[in-house]
């Protein structure tokens, strides 16, 4: 299994488990965008902790995914970018203009804040009355 896309209440948690080539990466992007519509998700977590290389194509694909998701009414957070990979992205000159957090937990917390007010309210993760 190369990737998994799991529904978690209002959120989607999409994880990449191994190196993807360009075609697989594009299919993954497409699948996530399709699922957003299917599940009416408000937020998407993309877990890239398993990727040892994110080159210009990979970065662009992730940025595009976030952009497309926004058009579909969902916020996207990329989580788990490895320190070496982050360094390479900067050296390469990429500007990964998306929300990012260190790990899944922080990613979910950020999504909660980003989507506050637009939620349907039956998140398995969101604490009841979290709207404050």
């Amino acid at each position: 299994m190369l990737v998994s896309i799991l529904r978690q209440g209002d959120f989607l948690i999409a994880s990449i488990h191994t190196a993807l080539d360009d075609t697989e990466m594009e299919r993954f992007r497409q699948d996530v965008v399709t699922r957003i519509g299917q599940f009416r998700s408000r937020g998407v977590i993309i877990d890239v902790a398993a990727l040892d290389v994110i080159d210009s194509f990979g970065s662009r694909c992730l940025a595009d995914l976030a952009h497309m998701a926004r058009f579909r009414g969902a916020q996207t957070v990329i989580v788990g970018i490895q320190p070496d990979v982050a360094f390479a992205i900067v050296q390469l000159g990429m500007d990964l203009d998306v929300h990012t957090t260190l790990d899944l937990e922080e990613g979910l917390a950020l999504l909660e804040r980003l989507t506050a007010g637009s939620r349907t309210g039956h998140s398995a993760i969101g604490v009841l009355g979290d709207d404050r």
Binding site: A19, S56, Q91
Partner: protein, 355 residues
């Protein structure tokens, strides 16, 4: 950079009249002359990466000379053997056994010339299949340093073997070091020794030198070739690059930088040329070790290299970060391209940064 690159490719082309003159003095037959010139250019091109620029012309001349004498020898032999052309099978002659024994003896002599540690290391690595990592542990060294040592030992062994086989002592004290530098592909050392000049002056080395260089090309033990034709090959190329770089001893961050650069460059091949290859080589220079990536294709080439190497210039709606990005990821970076002929990218990362 493109000026430099252009200088390189035209460097080979400029050799053409020179080689023609050298060969023309020895051969009458026009078609044979063309063949030899072409073959010389091809071999020089193939060996170029391992040669200092100053040694290019001498190497070409020596190669041409050898090709011509090889041609003569073949003609002479076919003349001599004409009468038994029908006899397609020859029984093993009494000399075959002797030749085999001589070769074995030559290997033994050559091995004996190596310092004991290099000899033991080489035998352990080549014959018993011990990893550089376990040797490194035993010697209290790093796998990269062991690999470098083994490589030098192999280069030395090649020279000593040829000397032992021919039962010759090199005529000048300079011969041995020059041959070693050629055998190991150490360009800096070649320059220091003025190897090109010596090759032209010394008949002995002019015979030996090309043999050593060519045997290096066949012994592709330190080259890893990855054909690149499709998306999946891009992933394969960058994974192989990570492996080779790890063997050289690069750290985690550098491994990522190198494989990212290889990914970019391999994608360019798929995107623009459809087919090509990435060759990964471990390189040594002045005590530093590194990894060299050569990506070549026979695609459409790049019309405007200066612009292609600028940030944000893209011909296909990408972000235009490919070439300039790779330059930032690696230590050395050079693009050579000819419209309709193809593109070659040579980039190197060194393990210790020169300060």
């Amino acid at each position: 950079m493109s000026v430099h690159a252009a200088g390189h490719s035209s460097g080979i082309a400029e050799l053409d009249p020179l080689i023609r003159r050298v060969v023309g003095g020895r051969l009458r037959d026009q078609s044979a002359l063309d063949d030899v010139v072409q073959e010389t250019l091809a071999r020089t091109m193939a060996a170029r990466i391992r040669l200092d620029d100053g040694a290019l012309a001498p190497y070409a001349i020596v190669t041409a000379r050898n090709l011509v004498s090889g041609l003569w020898r073949r003609e002479e032999r076919s003349q001599r053997h004409l009468h038994r052309l029908v006899d397609r099978w020859e029984p093993p002659g009494p000399d075959d056994d002797v030749v085999l024994r001589e070769q074995a003896e030559a290997v033994a002599v050559a091995l004996a010339e190596l310092p004991p540690r290099e000899r033991l290391g080489l035998v352990a690595h080549e014959l018993e299949g011990r990893e550089t990592a376990s040797l490194a542990e035993e010697w209290g060294s790093t796998p990269g340093a062991v690999a470098a040592q083994l490589k030098r030992a192999r280069a030395k062994l090649r020279v000593e073997y040829l000397l032992a086989l021919g039962r010759i002592d090199p005529p000048t004290p300079l011969c041995r070091p020059v041959l070693m530098a050629l055998s190991g592909g150490e360009r800096r050392r070649q320059r220091e020794l003025e190897a090109g000049q010596h090759l032209l002056e010394c008949d002995f080395c002019s015979d030996m030198g090309p043999t050593l260089l060519q045997s290096r090309e066949k012994g592709a033990e330190d080259d890893v070739q990855v054909p690149v034709e499709c998306d999946a090959d891009v992933v394969a190329a960058r994974q192989r690059a990570r492996e080779v770089a790890a063997e050289v001893g690069f750290s985690g961050t550098d491994l990522t930088l190198i494989s990212t650069a290889v990914s970019e460059i391999a994608r360019n091949i798929v995107q623009f040329a459809r087919r090509g290859e990435v060759v990964l080589t471990r390189v040594e220079d002045d005590g530093r070790s590194g990894v060299r990536v050569v990506a070549r294709d026979a695609g459409p080439g790049i019309a405007d290299l200066d612009r292609a190497e600028q940030d944000g210039f893209s011909t296909y709606g990408g972000m235009g970060l490919g070439l300039p990005g790779c330059r930032r990821l690696m230590d050395e970076f050079e693009v050579t391209s000819k419209v309709d002929k193809g593109t070659t990218v040579v980039m190197t990362k060194w393990r210790q940064q020169p300060n």
